[in-house]
Symmetry: C2
């Protein structure tokens, strides 16, 4: 099992961010090949960081190779391209990690 | 469902960290009341951060209240206290988040 874990700081425009994130971005994510599960968690408390953490998304795949294949697919390229549409609502790009 | 997501940077002493983390810390975590699942993921790749991310642990509970009750239990206090035993192997304390 492998995951993409994506960590967003608090948006500068929460309403704008959430509208695009939940109505456009996540539906695009769910169309990616190899994706087994997508979960979005709101951060309620954070310790030992100066970052204003807001949202943690977890996208589950079979292994790291499936993550790369998903990102290289047409649907994956659409997801990556759509991150640019979230940037007007954010101070900085989300931290993206691949874990296994 | 609620989770504690704990993010460790690369240890200054990996062997020392891993020995204590996997042989002592995680077994203590698994003794906490209300815990439904504990998963430890190695970070294989990270983007949009200057941090040298190393490990992401996910502890699953029923809700945020169960997390607090778990941390206040004798077993939870032992887990929190044991973080101090990991610090000699680390440059800084792990980022701890509670999400739902």
């Amino acid at each position: 099992m492998a995951k993409m874990i994506v960590i967003y700081n608090e948006p500068t425009n929460k309403e704008g961010f959430e509208a695009h994130y939940f109505n456009v971005h996540i539906p695009l994510v769910q169309k990616m090949p190899f994706i087994r599960n997508a979960a979005v968690h709101k951060v309620k408390q954070a310790m030992n960081t100066n970052e204003n953490l807001y949202l943690i998304a977890e996208l589950e795949f079979g292994d790291l190779q499936e993550i790369n294949q998903a990102l290289e697919s047409p649907e994956g390229k659409e997801v990556v391209g759509d991150v640019a549409n979230l940037m007007p609502f954010l101070e900085k790009a989300p931290v993206i990690t691949m874990v296994e």
